[in-house]
């Protein structure tokens, strides 16, 4: 097992290297000049050139790439072109809000979606199934920002129950922490839960038609035991896969939710950096996300053994 894990982690190194090259090239070949953006609208061409030289952006691409790779190998992701702050520091400041939001969304979505998927499969073809899947498709189809504005309008502006925006650290108390994350997590969670509910239903439907389920029912086991003990465990592999890949979907959704709810997370850091062409930050964040994706996939693969002992590594 340990050999397998080490092998998987080591195999991510060439993947990360390829990603690094692609990200660097894509960014530097994309139109847009941080020097022109920094200089501002009033600046002259001479101002822009002066800033470009000061930032080293007039150096050749290979030269810039080698400098960047050299920094990465020493664990340094560089400094922001704008703020002059280390990229690692900027990312570290933003991780807590994003991880908190993603985890809360995940917990809410799994708790809501899996039972819905199981019930829909159990009642397949009935009005219950249709109603649940209609709601799932509806929420999956509504853009996250629409849901977000709707929730803000009602819960914050009309009823004044929850804050419109912002983030409070967990260290500042569970109340403020949750009150600031409820609306963003629900906005994001509805989409994610819809996807997960549909996948759970499909996986469960397949399992419910297996012979051993028929046998379990014939032996007189109750519906609850059949569904949640025998069927769900065997349907868990595709559900876990969806949860894992959905995490990546979550990261995409986090970008929108963090903007709508002004949560200072990694998603907003990325958007701001892209709009400003703050290359070191974009490169750092993408490398981080790529690594996170590799680790999440590894975690998913390892978790299969927990639900299916037949799987061996």
């Amino acid at each position: 097992m340990l050999t397998y894990i080490m092998g998987r982690i080591l195999s991510s190194i060439p993947v990360m290297a390829v990603i690094a090259v692609i990200v660097f090239m894509l960014l530097h070949l994309t139109p847009g000049d941080p020097a022109a953006i920094i200089a501002g609208d009033q600046a002259s061409a001479a101002d822009v050139e002066r800033i470009r030289q000061a930032l080293g952006l007039n150096r050749s691409l290979p030269e810039q790439f080698i400098t960047w790779v050299g920094q990465i190998l020493t664990g340094d992701l560089g400094t922001s072109i704008y703020t002059g702050r280390p990229v690692t520091e900027l990312i570290a400041q933003r991780l807590e809000p994003t991880v908190s939001l993603a985890l809360l969304t995940l917990v809410v979505a799994v708790l809501v979606a899996v039972p819905i998927g199981v019930i829909a499969a159990w009642k397949a073809g009935t009005w219950v199934d249709w109603a649940l899947m209609f709601v799932a498709i509806l929420f999956f189809s509504i853009p996250i920002f629409i849901t977000g504005y709707f929730l803000v309008f009602n819960f914050s502006i009309q009823w004044r129950l929850l804050p419109v925006q912002g983030y409070r650290s967990f260290s500042g108390g569970i109340g403020p922490f949750l009150s600031h994350l409820v609306l963003p997590a629900v906005s994001l969670g509805l989409v994610y839960a819809s996807l997960l509910a549909r996948m759970s239903r499909t996986a469960m439907l397949e399992v419910l038609h297996q012979d051993y389920i028929r046998t379990a029912r014939a032996k007189g086991l109750g519906s609850g035991k059949v569904l949640f003990i025998h069927a769900l465990k065997n349907a868990a592999v595709p559900i876990i896969t969806t949860i894992g890949t959905g995490l990546v979907l979550l990261l995409g959704g986090v970008v929108v939710v963090e903007s709508v709810f002004a949560i200072p997370g990694v998603g907003r850091l990325t958007v701001d950096a892209v709009l400003r062409r703050d290359y070191p930050i974009i490169q750092g964040v993408i490398l981080l996300f790529s690594f996170a994706y590799v680790i999440v996939n590894l975690g998913i693969d390892l978790s299969y053994r927990l639900v299916d002992p037949r799987i061996r590594y």
């Binding site: 002066r50 704008y82 009823w159 009150s179 200072p264 701001d272």
Partner: protein, 533 residues
């Protein structure tokens, strides 16, 4: 139970849950009464006001730094850090003496040497500063408190230059900081202004924190615009970054922030209807919209094609498209801005009426024969996006084959520096806005420069007659002479059309009723502002 009763019960249940979650934290202003929370027009990213012309960095400068002179509400330069000044009868020698008690945030005294070094750094990058430095024979500190500027020839705008409110503003830095070349951004902030930047609490993209400078010695006069006393009346000011304009407005309505700079125009009527919120013009002169043609590319290398642009514009249409509320938009036909000392509409008669047929005729006379015209459309800035759409439609109405290319502002500011043909990555037209205060003088009006060299702004106008009038203005010493030259310049500009204006609009801000003492001062400043419960 009817539906309404049911909804009420659900609402009560949700309310109880939410209140439980919030515990003691209310979403409405839960902060100390001595902390102003403000959302500014952009997020602060660069701390050096001589490194960038970004407005937010200038706003930052006014919080933590100080200036030798400052403009009052009438636009007159008044001493700020300067206690007194003398000018010789021939207007060649200017001697300035700093006020007593001025200190840096690290406790050391502000000296005349700091001022001289700062002016030299500013004079290397700012257009007005460069003009002043070009006519300066020498500038030296006489002692700790006094310095002298000796000019080669009289310069009509010495005090105006030292009080320049928009980028680049001549803020006074510590000498060591000021001796850094302006091409190198400084990230360490030691100012002498009424607020101290709290570096350790700065979270780029999230919040900027300032605390009151207890050692700041304010002028004794009452605050008047950016001039007069700068009394910090609150302990802290926090600039919160809320990138989504809807969320920012909701946060203001909900009392989570106190001040919102430059709200989206669409929201202004909503905010004006809220009894707890006041909308006011931060800067009455505001900004002016401009359609900038590329003077190097056909057909806009021909003045007739540029005159056609003027004939295509109906300024009120642009105002409506940008969502500027009625009463705030000014149709303006003065290249030197409206409500400015040099406002005039000489030579603008033909521009006041939209005439698509005439525009079509002028384009034909300029040799336009249906070639693709590349219009760069910045989709991420609402007012520029909507006004570009009006321009595109007007061009199509005149039979122009428009190639509208959508892009973000970051891409546009890069591409507009490209002098190649549109087929090689160049462009024909783009829209921008500029602070009217920058346009109020031909010296600071970068879009009016037509010197035929690389130093002009993208668009690269080349008109020796127009440029001669700008140069003539620099030598005009009396107000009458300046006004006469300004009229000649407006007439020449409507003939040459360095750009076509599409109106002037104020820069608005909104604040909650708890804030007292907010003034129209060209920039959103927080000295003189208190927070009451």
């Amino acid at each position: 139970m009817n539906i309404l009763t049911g909804l009420t019960s659900i609402r009560a249940l949700l309310g109880a849950t939410a209140v439980g979650l919030c515990l003691s934290v209310s979403p409405t202003v839960a902060q100390s009464s001595s902390t102003i929370k403000a959302v500014m027009q952009a997020d602060l990213a660069i701390l050096d006001p001589t490194f960038t012309t970004a407005t937010i960095t200038t706003d930052f400068g006014y919080m933590v730094y100080d200036t030798l002179f400052a403009l009052d509400s009438k636009g007159e330069p008044k001493p700020q850090m300067v206690d007194r000044y003398e000018k010789s009868a021939d207007l060649l020698t200017w001697t300035f003496t700093l006020r007593e008690g001025l200190k840096w945030h690290d406790g050391t005294a502000v000296t005349a040497a700091d001022a001289v070094a700062s002016l030299k750094r500013w004079g290397a990058v700012d257009s007005l500063g460069k003009s002043l430095m070009a006519t300066t024979e020498k500038m030296d500190a006489l002692n700790d408190k006094s310095f002298q500027i000796i000019l080669k020839k009289p310069f009509p705008l010495v005090l105006e230059a030292l009080a320049k409110p928009s980028a680049y503003t001549p803020f006074i830095y510590q000498k060591a900081f000021a001796e850094t070349p302006p091409s190198q951004a400084k990230h360490k902030v030691v100012g002498s202004g009424p607020f101290i930047f709290v570096d350790e609490e700065w979270r780029p993209g999230n919040r900027v924190v300032f605390r009151r400078n207890p050692n700041y010695v304010s002028r004794s006069e009452p605050q008047d615009g950016l001039a007069g006393g700068k009394v910090a009346k609150v302990e802290r000011v926090e600039w919160i970054a809320i990138p989504d304009p809807n969320t920012a407005v909701a946060a203001l309505q909900n009392g989570e922030i106190h001040f919102l700079d430059n709200p989206l125009m669409d929201f202004v009527p909503v905010l004006e209807d809220d009894p707890d919120i006041t909308v006011y013009p931060v800067d009455k002169l505001g900004q002016t919209g401009m359609i900038r043609p590329n003077h190097l590319q056909k057909p806009f290398d021909n003045p007739k094609a540029r005159q056609a642009l003027v004939k295509l514009v109906k300024q009120s249409d642009f105002g409506a498209a940008m969502g500027v509320p009625k009463g705030h938009f000014i149709e303006c036909y003065s290249y030197l801005g409206c409500n400015t000392p040099l406002e005039n509409d000489t030579g603008a008669e033909a521009a006041k009426t939209q005439d698509i047929a005439e525009a079509k005729k002028l384009l034909a006379e300029a040799g336009y024969a249906g070639e693709k015209i590349v219009v760069m459309q910045p989709t991420d800035i609402a007012i520029l996006n909507s006004s570009t759409q009006v321009l595109i439609q007007n061009l199509r109405n005149a039979g122009v084959n428009v190639d509208a290319q959508a892009m973000d502002w970051g891409t546009l500011v890069n591409r507009r520096n490209n002098k190649n043909t549109p087929a090689e990555g160049g462009w024909h037209l783009f829209i921008t806005t500029n602070f009217t205060s920058n346009l109020a003088s031909p010296i600071t009006h970068s879009y009016l420069q037509a010197s035929c060299d690389a130093a002009t702004s993208p668009g690269w106008p080349c008109d020796k007659d127009l440029q001669a009038l700008t140069d003539k203005f620099q030598g005009a010493l009396s107000p009458e002479e300046r006004k006469t030259t300004a009229a000649e310049l407006n007439k020449a500009a409507y003939k040459s059309v360095p750009y076509a204006s599409f109106g002037q609009m104020p820069i608005l801000a909104a604040y909650r009723k708890e804030l007292k003492g907010v003034q129209t001062s060209r920039l959103p400043v927080f000295f003189g502002v208190s927070l009451e419960k």
